[in-house]
C-alpha cells in the first residue's frame, strides 16, 4: 500500500499545505481505519489494499468528458482543470471561494473529525492539492443546472475535493459525476452547506472502468427550512465506497435520498449513511437499492440518529435489494438510534430476486427472457434514475447500466 507507506514515512506530498499537514498528522499514528469497526468490517481488505496501492498523481492529463453537454445554459466544471468561475447574472451569482474562505471552512470541519469515522475525508484532504479543491459560493434563483466532474487517471491515485455553499433562499440543480479510469483510485470528498430556505437537487453518478476504485464521501449540513434531495448511482467499480453524512443542524429541514449501487463480477460497492437530526421537526425519506450479480458484493449500512432535541422528527429508511446470482452477496443494515420520544421513525429491508411471474407475463407476450429481465430491471432502476437531476443523462445512464457488463 504505497499511500500508507508514504503517510508513515512522511513522504506523502512535497510542499504540503497547512490543511494537508493537519490531516497528515491525524493519520500518521494510525494511517488505516479500524478494519474491525462496524464501519469497515465488511470492506474487502485486499480491495482496500489495491485502492491504496497507486501513486498520487497531481498532474491530471486533460479530461474529455464522455457526455455531450446537456444544454448550452448548463454550467460545466471539471475539478483539477483550472476552473475559474465568476458569474454574476441578474438573478444569481456563482463565485469561487478564495483560499482563506476554503481554509477556514475545511479547518472547522477537520477540527471535529474522528480518525475512523472520517478517515475517507482525512485521507482526501491530506492528498488533495490546491488545484484539486474547488469551492463555490452560490446565491440567487433561476440558476442554470451545474455539472461537476471528477476523474482519476490511469494507474494513479487522484484526490478531488468540492466545497459548496448555498446561500439563503438559493435553489439549484447539481449533477456530480465521478469517473474511474482503468486501474485507478479516486478519492472524492464533497462538503455542502445549505443555508436557510435553500434547496438543492443533487445527483451523484459514479461509474468506473476495469479495476477502478472509488472512495466517495459526501458531507451535507442543512440549516433551517432547507431542502436537500439526493439521487445517486454507483456502478462498475472494482471497489467503491460511498459515505453520506447529513446533519440537520437545527432541525426543521427536509432530506430525500434515493440511492443505488449495482455490482457485477467480483466488485464490491457499499453505501454508508448517517443522518443526524440535531433539532426538532426534521424530515427524511430515504431509499437505498442494491443489485448484486455474479460473485459481487453490495453493502448498505444506514443510521438515523434522533437525539432528545429532535422531537417531531419524521424519518423513514428503506433498503431494497435484488440478488441476481447464487454467488452474489448483499449485506444490509438500516438502523435507528432514537432518544426523542415524540417521533415517527420507520425502517426496513427486503432482499429478493427477479419476479418470475412478471417475467413469465412478459414472455407470454413474445418478449425474450433477456429483454424481459432488462425491462424488469429498468423498472427497478427507474425510481432512482428519475430522481437524478439534469435529465438528458438519465436515459444514457439507463442504457449504460443495462447494456454494459
Amino acid at each position: 500500500m504505497k499511500i500508507i507507506e508514504n503517510i508513515k514515512t512522511n513522504k506523502l506530498i512535497d510542499k504540503q499545505t497547512e490543511i494537508q499537514k493537519i490531516c497528515h498528522q491525524k493519520l500518521q499514528s494510525s494511517p488505516l481505519p479500524n478494519l474491525k469497526s462496524e464501519l469497515w468490517r465488511l470492506s474487502n481488505k485486499s480491495k482496500i489494499s489495491k485502492f491504496l496501492d497507486y501513486s498520487v498523481d497531481e498532474k491530471d492529463p486533460k479530461f474529455d468528458v464522455p457526455y455531450p453537454k446537456n444544454s448550452k445554459s448548463n454550467i460545466r466544471l471539471i475539478i483539477g482543470e483550472d476552473c475559474q468561475i465568476k458569474l454574476k447574472e441578474e438573478n444569481y451569482s456563482i463565485q469561487q471561494l478564495n483560499e482563506d474562505e476554503l481554509d477556514k471552512y475545511i479547518k472547522e470541519q477537520i477540527s471535529c473529525f474522528d480518525q475512523n469515522e472520517n478517515w475517507s475525508d482525512l485521507l482526501n484532504l491530506s492528498l488533495s492539492c490546491k488545484k484539486n479543491i474547488l469551492g463555490l459560493k452560490i446565491n440567487g434563483s433561476k440558476i442554470p443546472p451545474i455539472e461537476i466532474f471528477s476523474h482519476a487517471s490511469n494507474n494513479s491515485f487522484n484526490a478531488k475535493t468540492l466545497v459548496i455553499f448555498l446561500e439563503k433562499n438559493c435553489n439549484i440543480e447539481l449533477l456530480q459525476v465521478n469517473f474511474g479510469k482503468e486501474n485507478s483510485s479516486l478519492s472524492q470528498s464533497t462538503f455542502i452547506h445549505l443555508e436557510e430556505n435553500s434547496s438543492l437537487n443533487h445527483g451523484v453518478v459514479s461509474y468506473g472502468e476495469n479495476k477502478s476504485n472509488l472512495l466517495n464521501s459526501l458531507n451535507v449540513i442543512q440549516q433551517k427550512n432547507s431542502k436537500y434531495n439526493l439521487g445517486s448511482l454507483h456502478f462498475k467499480f472494482n471497489y467503491a465506497r460511498f459515505e453520506i453524512q447529513i446533519k440537520q443542524s437545527v432541525g426543521h429541514a427536509k432530506t430525500n435520498i434515493k440511492s443505488m449501487q449495482i455490482t457485477k463480477k467480483d466488485e464490491q460497492i457499499s453505501t454508508y449513511t448517517k443522518i443526524d437530526f440535531n433539532g426538532p421537526n426534521g424530515f427524511l425519506d430515504q431509499i437505498n437499492k442494491s443489485l448484486a450479480d455474479d460473485k459481487s458484493h453490495a453493502i448498505f449500512e444506514g443510521s438515523i440518529i434522533v437525539p432528545k432535541i429532535a422531537q417531531k422528527t419524521d424519518a423513514s429508511q428503506l433498503s431494497r435489494n435484488l440478488l441476481l446470482s447464487k454467488l452474489a452477496q448483499i449485506d444490509t443494515k438500516p438502523q435507528l438510534e432514537i432518544i426523542a420520544d415524540d417521533v415517527k421513525c420507520k425502517h426496513g429491508a427486503t432482499i429478493s430476486q427477479l419476479n418470475e411471474e412478471e417475467l413469465f407475463y412478459m414472455r407470454t407476450r413474445g418478449i425474450t427472457l433477456t429483454e424481459a429481465s432488462k425491462l424488469q430491471l429498468s423498472s427497478y432502476f427507474q425510481e432512482i434514475i428519475s430522481f437524478i437531476p439534469v435529465s438528458k443523462d438519465r436515459w444514457d445512464l439507463l442504457d449504460k447500466i443495462l447494456n454494459e457488463n
Partner: protein, 257 residues
C-alpha cells in the same frame, strides 16, 4: 371430417410442479374457427393447463405432448410460443411498475410481427395501430402512458389483456377467467372485443366458472375438468346444465374413475 388441420392438439398430457401431479391425461383438439370453453371447480387444473400450453417454466410435462400447427412445442420457450401465435390472457394480469404500457405493447407487437416477417413498427406507426385497437375495448388513450396494469381496476386490466390480444393477432387465444371481476357492461365490452378479434382462422379457449360469458360468446364445445382431467365434453348446453347442477357431481365422477 374437419376440412382444415387443428391449430392446437393436447394429447394425453400429464404435468406436475414440485413433483406434485396436476394434469393427469388431458386431451383437447382445437380447429380454426372453434370456440372451446373449459369449466370446472377451483383447483381442478384449468389455469395450470393454460399456463402449460403457454410454457410456464414452473411446470414439467411428464407425459404426452402439445402440438401447435402440427409441431410439438413441448420444449419451446414461452416467448417462442407467443411469437408463433399462442396467446394467454391472464386471470390476474401482472402489474409491472415503471414499464410504460405503450412501450410494453410495442415491444410485444414487434416480436410477433418479426416472427410473421412483417415490418416492425416505430413509435409513430405503432401509435396509429394501437389507437385503432383501443376502440375495440373502449379504452382511453391515457392508459397507454401508465405503467403496465399498475393502478388499473380489475376491468381495466382485463380490457388491457384483450387489447394485447388484438395487437398480437394470435392463432389461438386462451383466456383464463377473463370474465372474473367484470361488471355487466365491462363483460359486454370484453366479449364484443373477443368476438371482433376472432375469425375463421383463429381458435379460442375460454376458461370460466360461469355461464354469463358464454351467453355473450357461444362456444362450440364445453369441457368439464376435474382432478386434472377432462371428464366430460358437450355442446353449449352442457354449460347451462352446469349452471343448474353445479360441480358437486364432478367429485363423485372422479371417485368412481
Amino acid at each position: 371430417m374437419k376440412e382444415s388441420d387443428p391449430i392446437l392438439e393436447v394429447d394425453n398430457l400429464f404435468a406436475s410442479t414440485d413433483n406434485l401431479p396436476i394434469l393427469k391425461g388431458v386431451s383437447l383438439t382445437v380447429y380454426p374457427g372453434e370456440i372451446h370453453a373449459i369449466m370446472g371447480r377451483n383447483g381442478c387444473g384449468k389455469s395450470t393447463l393454460s399456463k402449460i400450453i403457454a410454457g410456464h417454466p414452473s411446470y414439467n410435462i411428464t407425459n404426452g405432448c402439445i402440438k401447435f400447427s402440427g409441431a410439438n412445442i413441448n420444449s419451446l420457450e414461452p416467448e417462442e410460443r407467443a411469437q408463433s401465435g399462442i396467446f394467454l390472457g391472464f386471470q390476474y394480469p401482472i402489474e409491472i411498475p415503471g414499464v410504460s404500457n405503450l412501450e410494453f405493447l410495442r415491444v410485444s407487437t414487434n416480436s410477433r410481427r418479426k416472427f410473421l416477417n412483417k415490418e416492425e413498427l416505430d413509435t409513430f406507426d405503432f401509435e396509429e395501430l394501437v389507437k385503432e385497437k383501443l376502440e375495440l375495448v373502449k379504452m382511453d388513450h391515457a392508459f397507454l402512458s401508465r405503467s403496465v396494469n399498475q393502478g388499473f381496476s380489475g376491468g381495466e386490466k382485463k380490457r388491457n389483456e384483450i387489447l394485447q390480444m388484438a395487437l398480437l393477432e394470435p392463432k389461438i387465444a386462451i383466456l383464463d377467467e377473463t370474465d372474473s371481476g367484470l361488471d355487466i357492461d365491462a363483460l359486454r365490452i370484453v366479449a364484443s372485443g373477443i368476438k371482433k378479434i376472432s375469425n375463421e382462422q383463429t381458435g379460442i379457449i375460454l376458461i370460466t366458472h360461469y355461464q354469463r360469458l358464454l351467453d355473450e360468446i357461444e362456444p362450440n364445445y364445453v369441457h368439464v375438468m376435474a382432478d386434472g382431467q377432462i371428464i366430460k365434453t358437450g355442446g353449449s348446453d352442457l354449460a347451462l346444465e352446469l349452471e343448474k347442477k353445479g360441480y358437486e357431481w364432478t367429485d363423485d365422477f372422479v371417485k368412481e374413475m
